[in-house]
Symmetry: D2
Subunit: 404 residues, 4 copies
């Protein structure tokens, strides 16, 4: 599909996620030896002036406002979907139909129905050698990848406990405006889908177990907010500074979502996603306890992994702070010397690396759309439980035609 | 009731808790200026030789095997109940009836019925100037007391989130024997009542809010264990070392209990108590997020409190690690210079201090038996939810006759 | 020397150190099984009323204002010297001459001459079965004792680096008064002897190496301070609150002392002792790097030891935070369950334990007066280097008659 | 000098530092709004094949093996010197003479004489609008820049103490080969110039004080090492694996350098640079104590700054862990949302940003060559003290003709 060993990328959306993805596309061949060379062919957005400026700044050769034509261009091999969740399905399915590889940001879709269609489309495309991947970037933080490797190698034994939180605080101020991430029709859900989805995927990825059922509660602390003048991603200015008279609108998503879970391998778990944890900025924290040891991770110290080895002599046991910057740690041989940490954006570079390699070698990149659908099914079970008195709610199975 | 400004104490039980309480009674007048001087009059236990040895070691003037006579002796002012939960009600009620002040270890009782009787007895005795207190010692860790003070002073504003875990790992080994703490008839419940009760009490104490309802799940990972030869408190040797042939018995309590909660002041919460968190030894951790700030505590670093002040300039905000060893911190003016930390046992000394002072001044010591009953009602709601598909379960109200 | 298996103690001085030692004498038999039972026979101080109050509060059977008679009483087996350094030599030597065991607080003496006399007296007394020990309490913090054990066991290999600081901040306020610890005639030196001595002893103890030579600088940041009305230990009120008019006096000791050192086993080291490290309350921190690993300790987290094992697989290496609360850690089997930490005072109890056991069994307690003299010789070399342009200065050898 | 608002860069050297600089040049215009657009015109190295490969990978338009022609090309505006220290002077002086701006990696030169010549050349060039800067990248770690801002704003008051270490462990293995960094003729010195220079510059930058005098000691623990087959930067394979028979050579630089210092503003300091601190990978740690507060930084947690404010209420004081990822923190508004940390490489991007901006606006970029010369003079004083019995050694003044 690519010509002359190039992988020609077209990206839709250029806000926070678009900037992070652009950085990855620019960097991946500078750091990793790969069989394909990425070409940043075109970026697409709705506003002509803005997308032109973004193209110049982020390093795209062309820009366009028409995603429908972008996804069918001959000189594009891969479509990278970085828009809000309400447009993922339409764009991704069209791109797959046009034979383009697709990288789609998470959450995969705003509804289960859409997610099922996308997963089915991806399975069909796969038969034609067209690859798809969902952008759960945290899987490629080296400490997380290492955590998975250690768990898979049996270093912590049989898994008993998972406790996962994703804590942010950017909307604690009631005057923070009603941006698209606070509107159900655009975002699907609130903290649950935005950040809760990450800890669901991450913990399932690390443990190799899937959530089978949940009991949940959700809360919206601030139910009405000022309308924004502009809205782009995580930041926005409220529409009015003169206090009191600004028009407001209802917050239609959750501010926080909490749930307990049982996983299919026997582990039990607590999950919490919130944007009201004052002082926690990007507090993605996961601890997993097993019969032989434990691992713990905190994204605010993303270059570290804590590991407890219960097989060590009892007077020397303790949590070891592994500085995940050694050449034999995942992805790290391509970067700096030990102790010279990397940042948030690098996980996107690693994601690009693995996707490029999978495309070049005919492998199946992960997480697949089916993996992402399964995360959506967990989100759905959480919502259903919260809406029905927190009763125990099984996660729906992936339909046979999709999983196949 | 006391003569010559003495407070004469009789203690029932002398294992782990008895040792901790003895240390407190020995020390309290050495450190604090108090209107009453504690006399360690007698200790009581079932085994004559063992209790005699304990009396000698722990510093009690006499010993006895008959708690019924102990609680009616004229030369005893206060009964300190340190036995397993199944005997709390009988001893405490008898002591109160005999006009003795009572300090009773937590959990207050093994059943709601017993706890209600105890609370009612305490209310009746209170009318006669007889005081009672339940031993939730962690309230008197200075960092916890400080946390309550700061929350009460409005330093974190309106409370949104509580996340509380109590993590231990002492029974992760399936060969660890079936001690009394793993038997429902003796202990009432497992991790839930033993350590979950602590985080319920502590978070309610700190926030001033009560848990209104819960959804819960519990788990017993290791369902059968070797019978112990001896069983005392936290440690025990399994009955047989030659493997395989040791007689075993069923574990009848939870190894872990997880629940979500809503509090009556609007906060939402996650709670977890487990004895299977490999590597966590006494991991009582609480974080509370409010509209103006947050506080966080970890007992494994008990001399520290983390505080986030969202009203500071935005470029200087962060979690402040307060070393809770200053003279103006709770209880600390009596101890060592700043930075010279204290240990686990000191919370018991502080508990003894506050109880002695309340008795001397005619105050009402806290937590009262009614407070402890309320914790029992939360435990009960957790168990009922877990037994009924994790459905939302309201905490039963305290009956009017008790709360009065 | 003791009768009926008792060890009868007479203590001189009852301020901060006296309170810490009293606590140890009160507690040691309650926690440890020992062949001798401590009897707190008498405490001695200059002010009749104050010492009487101290005796009552701290638990001494009698009090006296005459240390000379105390040290010769028949019913005293051991003299515990807790006075300022200027009186150590006279009291300790008299007690040894009277055949009493002696525990003497650090620093051993204010001058090398006195320290040499004391060490010689201790050596002579030892020949008669009379024991002596200097109170470097930090050796008996379990994490420090464990550190020594691990180093001695070769867990970190050949030692290359020591970096040791002891950071406090209690005199950063220029209005803090001129207490005895800031006067050379009473205290000998400032931060150097008070806290620098601790890190010298601790690092030599842990590594088994001795400091051979140093280059040093010292500084007195605040050269004049208000005279105190009262002065006892670490706290004092300045003599006048109305500002400006309070009489002042010169600070005659160092506020901070810094030195580099070479040890006789090949290690090189940095040392710093200061009372001006704003925010550090009792920041005794030591890190030791060896060819096979490293250990690090911070007293403000005294229940923890960090250990790096360079022989582990390279992708799992890191500093392990050992929670030093396990039964197989030094002294810990006598205390609480894992994770239930201990405090500052416990090191004194451990010191008392080891001293009592040495006396009972005829062993030689450590650190001996000769060990303490060697620390004094290091302090002396530091002072000489600082006074002579920081030139390299060898530590004087212990004279043969003392070391023998 | 640049045409059409471009800044055309030629880089000499392409190993570790060259890769870091290339990343910065590639990225700076993608993240920051700048008046000049960087063009990566050519990279230069000695080996044709290697430099060609580096050009392709790192994104340079051309490559060359002739630095002399590079520095005089008309289509080059700036020369970036990333070679070992022994060639800095020749290249930088030639470039300045040719009217090119120069960015030169630290240490500025291997000898004082060279450094003086470079500084003088930079001063002369400055008169013609030609800019020069030395690459002390750590100044542009946001937490470090914030630290400087807070100190300059008086947040910690009068500075009393500096303690600075730079700890690495990459040559603890005696079989690690004799790479160029261990050879005096190439590297000038060992740990001292390589990493000690960083903490000298950083602490002077943050405090605004200069080191006036020192007392020092240095050590080479492993005096003979196997000769390398290849040598590039931090990593290398020893020449022979069959043990014992590999040819070896003498290590001619320090493995560790320790010194005490007095600064011209009254602060006293300890410094340590070593490559033998087992377990410390890039442990650049600085703590500064002042009369009103303290700041502390550890590069291994580069997104954090600890700040102690002694003016807060005494019961709320403590070290605040500022997560330096807020938009109002230095450089951060250009990057990711709060809590989404950055990595080692970003400081180079910030360095490039500030240099580009200075060139565009006619400002004087810092640190200047004169600033870097002053660091060299401190290194020189350290070496002289260490070679002369650690005696106190004043730092030589910068000559008037240079400083002007």
């Amino acid at each position: 599909m690519s010509t002359q060993s190039h992988l020609r990328v077209g990206m839709v959306g250029y806000a926070f996620m678009g900037a992070a993805h652009s950085q990855a596309w620019r960097t991946v061949n500078r750091v990793f030896d790969l069989p394909l060379h990425v070409r940043m062919t075109a970026v697409c957005g709705r506003d002509e002036a803005n997308v032109a400026a973004a193209a110049a700044r982020l390093g795209w050769q062309e820009h366009t406002t028409d995603w429908r034509s972008l996804v069918t261009r001959d000189d594009i091999d891969l479509i990278d979907v970085c828009t809000p969740g309400d447009s993922h399905a339409e764009i991704a399915i069209a791109a797959l139909a046009a034979g383009k590889h697709v990288l789609c940001e998470k959450p995969l879709a705003n509804t289960i129905a859409e997610a099922r269609e996308m997963a089915a489309a991806a399975v069909r495309a796969e038969a034609n050698g067209v690859r798809s991947m969902c952008g759960f970037n945290y899987r490629r933080v080296p400490a997380v990848t290492l955590m998975r490797r250690m768990v898979a190698d049996g270093r912590i034994g049989e898994i008993r406990h998972i406790r996962a939180v994703y804590l942010q605080d950017w909307i604690t101020d009631p005057q923070f405006p009603l941006v698209w991430r606070l509107q159900k029709d655009k975002a699907g859900s609130g903290a649950l889908g935005d950040i809760g989805a990450h800890i669901i995927d991450l913990t399932q990825f690390v443990t190799g177990q899937h959530i089978a059922g949940v009991t949940a509660l959700t809360e919206t602390f601030v139910k009405e907010r000022p309308l924004p003048q502009t809205s782009s991603g995580l930041s926005a200015a409220a529409g009015d500074d003169n206090g009191g008279t600004a028009p407001t609108g209802p917050v239609t998503v959750d501010d926080a979502a909490l749930f307990l879970a049982r996983l299919d391998g026997g582990a039990i778990a607590t999950y919490e996603a919130t944007r009201f944890a004052t002082g926690r900025k990007n507090g993605l924290r996961v601890e997993i306890n097993g019969s032989r040891g434990s691992v713990a991770f905190d994204f605010e110290r993303m270059n570290e992994l804590e590991f407890y080895d219960a097989t060590e002599p009892s007077d020397e046991q303790g949590f070891t702070r592994i500085l995940v910057t050694e050449p034999d740690h995942p992805y790290l041989s391509a970067w700096w010397p030990p102790g010279h940490g990397i940042g948030y954006e690098h996980a996107f570079t690693h994601q690009a690396r693995d996707l490029v390699e999978a495309i070049a070698t005919g492998g199946a990149p992960t997480p697949s759309f089916t993996d992402a659908l399964q995360v959506q099914l967990v989100l759905d079970a959480v919502i259903r439980s919260a809406e029905h008195g927190s009763g125990w709610t099984d996660v729906e199975p992936i339909l046979a035609e999709v999983a196949a």
